[in-house]
Symmetry: C2
Subunit: 401 residues, 2 copies
Amino acid sequence: MDRHLVISSDCHAGLPPGGYREYLDPQYRDAFDAAMKIQVERTRELEKHFLVGDINAQWRTGNEAALTGAWDHGERIKVLDGDGIAGEVIFPDGITEMNAPPFGAGIGLSPKGADRELQWAGARAHNRWLAEFCQMAPERRAGVAIVPATWDIDEAIREVRWARENGLRSIMIPVIWGDHAPYHHPCYDPLWATCQDLETVVHFHSGPADSEQYFGAWPPNPGEPTLRGAMGIYVSEVCWWVARPLTFLIWGGIFEEHPELRVAITEGTAQWVPSFLQLLDQRASSHPGSSKLGDYTSHLSMKPSEYFARNIRVGASIPRPEVMMRHQIGVASLMWGSDYPHPEGTWPNTAARLADSFVGVPEDEIAAILGGNAVEFYGFDSEKLVSIAAAVGPEKSAFTA
Amino acid sequence: MDRHLVISSDCHAGLPPGGYREYLDPQYRDAFDAAMKIQVERTRELEKHFLVGDINAQWRTGNEAALTGAWDHGERIKVLDGDGIAGEVIFPDGITEMNAPPFGAGIGLSPKGADRELQWAGARAHNRWLAEFCQMAPERRAGVAIVPATWDIDEAIREVRWARENGLRSIMIPVIWGDHAPYHHPCYDPLWATCQDLETVVHFHSGPADSEQYFGAWPPNPGEPTLRGAMGIYVSEVCWWVARPLTFLIWGGIFEEHPELRVAITEGTAQWVPSFLQLLDQRASSHPGSSKLGDYTSHLSMKPSEYFARNIRVGASIPRPEVMMRHQIGVASLMWGSDYPHPEGTWPNTAARLADSFVGVPEDEIAAILGGNAVEFYGFDSEKLVSIAAAVGPEKSAFTA
């Protein structure tokens, strides 16, 4: 084949405002109607601080039809074909600010300030719709079920099972646990065991951070200025918060006890990986000063970097500087993502952007990062995808220096 | 000179239990007597979880006299001479678990769970003693005054002025601000202005972290086990927490507004620096996706890495792997430290440990990292220190490959 099989490990989909109503259990529909108005107002307020309205409007101009691919099956197939992408992993929040699942059950998933019952209802509504959406092209779409796992483990496990039975082979859980148990707590053990048994990938997707600290209040108070430098702090720290659970999982021995558990960190860049692994490996080796802290390593039979290589993958946009770091990060750990339909992603210029980033890289490494690693990690049917890629994938010749 | 001038940018000193009583304002002495008992009990409990009693006892055996250098002038001079060190920067907490200033005003300085009035009283008691202690060898000792700055800025500024008038040319402020204002908040502007005017170095010293999250409770509840992996998480995350304020200071424009302000990050390793600077510089440059967030960079005239190079230094033990990274970190940014009298430091084997770490490194780079950078940053009198180093410093020939 003279084309690459490309899987985007980071795409988004969600219904337009109002669309989730029919997917909600009926008892939550009144609350949904009331919350809709508040959500629209909040979005407008946030656009002033965060997502700049003018730029978003500009992004939409001329892309109106293609952006309906956020929820429209046929349009999405056209968009992905046109962008050279055979398969995709689908997170919530179609066009960032307008397609979020109800009741805070989207990318910003966090127990902080949320209502447990409503957040679960919102998650289930999205998962039901997503399961249907993925069934329209099951070979191409790996949908990520939303599981607000910090509230209640039994409920989380039931949702993981429901997701699997309905064709969703991965979940996302909150990046931030607030006042709830962190992820090394034994209360989560049955969840990890279930995910391992069902071969369900666990995701942490970038978005939540310590935002009230940066902005002075989160969401910002209408009419009040946010603190200077807040956005710079947010875009810098958000990458740390999304990878933070790994420190708890690795040291908590979760991968020791569940050697086949799979975890992905998505849209948090990949540049932190070498430094992160260097630090954890150093901390796990005996060194001056470690002895005074007692034994804190003997429950781990492998080095942190070895758990990382075996159990963890990173889904990221992988710009040129990270391509050049690929051997330090681990070629087998990297999965490229387009972030469609978000404006910060590569669509509709994926082919050109990929060529810029990966020019001169050996073909087998490109193949692994653009698709092969994701095929294996998510269990895509590679035969079916190859036949799609043969028609739409980027030509290998484009990557020759 | 055939010897290096060595300054330890990270040493500790503090009075033995009870010693701080006479340095406290009289109205706090009853509270001190009551708190002493609790502190001793708490230390014993912590030793079970954290500082292992047996290992600490072993460390003390044979070192009893030399460890009184934590507070004894003559003994400390002997120890430093024997270890090849001409000058030092002195933080609180002499032998980690037994010499902490009263009322939580030591290395673990944090407003979390502390009493404002008592913490200030404890800080002042230590600062008074430290000022006397440094005056016994002012050319060799740069004492770090404790300033619990998150409670009240005016009080913090008064203490900075008092410290400077009493020969203490640097301060440490809390790494963690708890529910108080983060360091990009404008309320701190007068503090930064004062520190710039008085040429007072601001320190963040490693220690505080999100410990209640790791251990299940902090301090641990007597008799209850801590969460598995807690110590590994602590030793991994503690390096992030100590450097975290830089993200707030850089993006907050603090170094833009106070171009001569000097900040040091101490005992938090140096291995995080290249990755940290790469991320911040990338976030500060225009890139796909940054536009949707609005303008968040135009208040900065320099790149984050440029503020880092100009305003910030890193005090660390610098083992061989970090020596090999010195050009990525910045040779001019690194200041070596022995951590005397802590067991994780290089004393009493500093000469051998330095030779292991720095063998084969060009002489001018060794000179900068071991002493020259600290002379300049803290304003040591290099002529006086050179005459000491000529007698006690490590021989340059020891570093030849």
